[in-house]
């Protein structure tokens, strides 16, 4: 026992060295293709992140839209229409599928961190087990886990302002802050870092690039079709492109979005899930 403990003592020295390396091991994303201006020094990156997050969120939100999935496997893109209610305080949401007909009426109830699913045609309610969480949601490039994941873009990350994109380049077409989000050690996020372009005027996100720890870009999320809703500048067109899967793309088009609603909490129950509305 003591013998083993002593041999470990020798290893601790090495551990210190390696842990030092770990701090800086995630290589910075290569953004040299985008010409960035120097950012003004007194801008709080964390505040920018908070604004961006709040822009898309309210305590209770209603959402109606359409998701389109493009894949080399498909001759025609797959289109899934749905509407949803979300309570971000309680971390609950209900998604109801409107189309195609095979999926119409299917509901997903998220009561953080669990996910239930109801299929009306066979009248079955299913609790999505952990082994299924990383499977694709409705055939898209999002996983069930993406739906449920509640990592806060503000709290779980450290933020760093990289510069300003003039909007003339290839990345985005509006003048925006470029902020790097680096997840805290231990936060349940697989990415090494996320780089977000945030509209200078409104703070809304224009684009998000997801990198692994070696600095390789794996996913790009683009936001477009911005419309003013009260004091928010809301993108009505989101497009997610995975870069390691050729020919794949998932797009979400928002038809209607309403913020700060009054919703009854009874919406977020398995009982309500089983209704077909």
């Amino acid at each position: 026992m003591i013998r083993i403990a002593l041999s470990f003592a020798g290893r601790i020295g090495r551990t210190l060295l390696i842990s030092l390396l770990f701090q800086g091991v995630a290589i910075a994303a290569d953004l040299s293709e985008f010409n960035l201006e120097q950012a003004p020094p007194n801008v709080d990156a964390r505040q920018l992140a908070r604004t961006a997050e709040d822009n898309m969120r309210s305590d209770r939100t209603f959402f109606k839209g359409e998701m389109t999935v493009v894949s080399p496997r498909l001759t025609r893109p797959r289109v899934v229409a749905f509407h949803s209610w979300e309570d971000s305080q309680e971390k609950k949401s209900l998604i109801r599928i409107d189309a195609p007909s095979k999926d119409k009426g299917t509901g997903f109830l998220k009561l953080h961190p669990n996910l239930w699913m109801y299929i009306p045609r066979v009248e079955r309610t299913v609790r999505v087990p952990p082994s299924m969480m990383l499977q694709s949601w409705m055939g898209s490039d999002f996983s069930n886990d993406d739906l449920v994941r509640e990592s806060s873009e503000v709290d779980d990350y450290d933020h760093r302002l990289l510069g300003i994109d003039t909007g003339q380049g290839s990345a985005v077409d509006r003048r925006s802050y470029v902020v790097e989000y680096r997840p805290h050690e231990g936060a349940p996020v697989v990415w090494g870092s996320i780089v977000a372009w945030l509209d200078i005027e409104s703070g809304a996100p224009l684009r998000q690039d997801f990198f692994d720890e070696e600095g390789e870009r794996l996913r790009v999320m683009r936001f477009g079709d911005f419309r003013q809703i009260e004091d928010r500048f809301v993108p009505h067109h989101w497009e997610m492109t995975p870069l390691d899967k050729r020919g794949h793309k998932t797009t979400i088009k928002i038809e209607k979005i309403e913020f700060d609603l009054e919703i009854q909490s009874s919406i977020f129950t398995t009982r309500n899930l089983k209704r077909r509305d």
């Binding site: 498909l74 299913v126 499977q135």
Partner: protein, 415 residues
């Protein structure tokens, strides 16, 4: 027969008891070597057979990258071309197409991810043993019914879900077309499998039902092939690879059971190694025994040899004669041993000897039948014979040398 040979032969039989003992030792050795190698070969083949019949056969064809990802994406085109090639290949005992993918299996408030395999029951029963492992209910019907979707679950999976025969369970997943795939399936049977992990996750349906469920059209995920015997797997793989490369490029991936279940192969390897080493030791011991016997005989015949040399026999001739004596001794033992062992092995070949006790219980745990099998092949007797002859040839050298070096004067003096 030359005079030397005749003399040698007569000399061999001069001391009957001694010769008998040596011959007996040789007979015994070769008999044992042939029978044990035959038994080991038979047992190992059976082990492989039993294992591959609950997995993917001797050779498995799948889409490139399928084994890593296990998704529908890496498919095998099933439009008749592949079938043609397989049918034309020699050494194929049986083959079966399959569609396997992951799906959510749910009943009441229990849900679990599982591996769903769509099989063609008619072909499958020649390739795998799943249909024989049904412990309750029955296997999937050969004809998929128009309304009822049949499913057979691993017993542990059924227990976990709290499902019994006749219950309807929900399968939910993503089809190849990215549509949502969900259907109700009726449980018609459960299987007890020796691999508990498999039993906890496996569900079997008809391949046509799986094809519809996953909207797979003319695609499958794997073809499992049984070769005529395990030893033919590598050549079968090579044949198929060549034939398929032309038509499919690198779309397909072929693997033998050695690559799919390396642990089994290694177990057999170690068992074989231990056995061969022991057999070599056996032969050495026997060879040494013969050596000593002959040596003692030479010492005994010192006077006679001396006389013979004094009478003018050349030492070289004496060497040859003594050498011949030894080889004849070994030869007699070899012939008798072979004529006893080979017929026995031939008779045992293919027969299954029932086992008892601990071992029987153990094989049943495995889900295998508690029997012992033997196998006769050409390498076995040829290899053993050659080994013994080589050992005899080496062993005979020293006594023959000593005999030829005998000095007539010493010999005569011992009178």
């Amino acid at each position: 027969m030359g005079i030397e040979t005749r003399l040698a032969w007569r000399n061999v039989w001069r001391n009957k008891r001694r010769t008998a003992l040596s011959v007996a030792a040789t007979v015994f050795a070769i008999f044992l070597v042939i029978i044990s190698v035959g038994m080991a070969t038979g047992v190992h083949e059976k082990m492989i057979e039993d294992a591959v019949r609950l997995a993917s056969g001797h050779v498995a064809i799948s889409g490139a990258g399928y084994r890593q990802s296990m998704t529908l994406e890496q498919f095998v085109p099933w439009d008749g071309r592949l079938e043609e090639v397989i049918e034309a290949a020699p050494n194929v005992r049986a083959w079966a197409p399959r569609i396997s993918s992951f799906a959510l299996i749910s009943y009441d408030d229990q849900s679990q991810g599982g591996m769903v395999i769509g099989v063609d029951p008619a072909r499958e029963k020649n390739v795998s043993e799943f249909s024989q492992k049904v412990n309750e209910g029955r296997f999937v019907s050969v004809d998929p019914g128009p309304t009822v979707r049949e499913i057979v679950l691993g017993r542990k999976l059924a227990d976990r879900l709290g499902v019994g025969l006749g219950d309807e369970i929900l399968l939910y997943g993503v089809a190849y077309s990215l549509e949502t795939a969900y259907e109700l399936f009726t449980v018609v049977g459960t299987m007890a499998l020796p691999d508990h992990r498999l039993e906890r996750n496996l569900a079997i349906v008809h391949i046509q039902v799986a094809s519809e469920f996953y909207v797979y059209e003319d695609r499958i995920t794997e073809v499992a092939i049984l070769a005529s015997e395990a030893a033919e797997s590598d050549s079968l793989l090579a044949d198929l690879e060549i034939a398929l490369a032309a038509r499919f490029g690198d779309q397909l991936e072929l693997q033998t059971y050695e690559q799919i279940m390396p642990g089994l192969v290694q177990l057999i390897l170690i068992d074989d190694a231990g056995m061969y080493i022991t057999l070599i030791i056996l032969i050495v011991v026997v060879g040494f025994g013969i050596l000593n016997t002959i040596l003692m005989a030479i010492l005994e015949r010192t006077r006679e040899l001396g006389v013979v040399l004094a009478l003018g026999l050349k030492p070289m001739a004496l060497f040859r004669m003594i050498y011949l004596e030894s080889m004849l001794l070994a030869g007699v033992g070899l012939v008798i041993g072979l004529s006893l062992a080979l017929p026995l092995l031939a008779w045992l070949h293919g027969i299954e000897v029932p086992l008892g006790g601990d071992i029987a219980k153990g094989t049943e745990l495995f889900g295998m039948e508690p029997t012992l099998t033997f196998k006769l092949n050409m390498i076995n007797p040829i290899g053993s014979t050659i080994t013994i002859l080589v050992v005899a040839a080496i062993a005979a050298f020293y006594p023959a040398l000593k005999a030829s070096r005998a000095r007539p004067i010493d010999a005569l003096r011992s009178l």
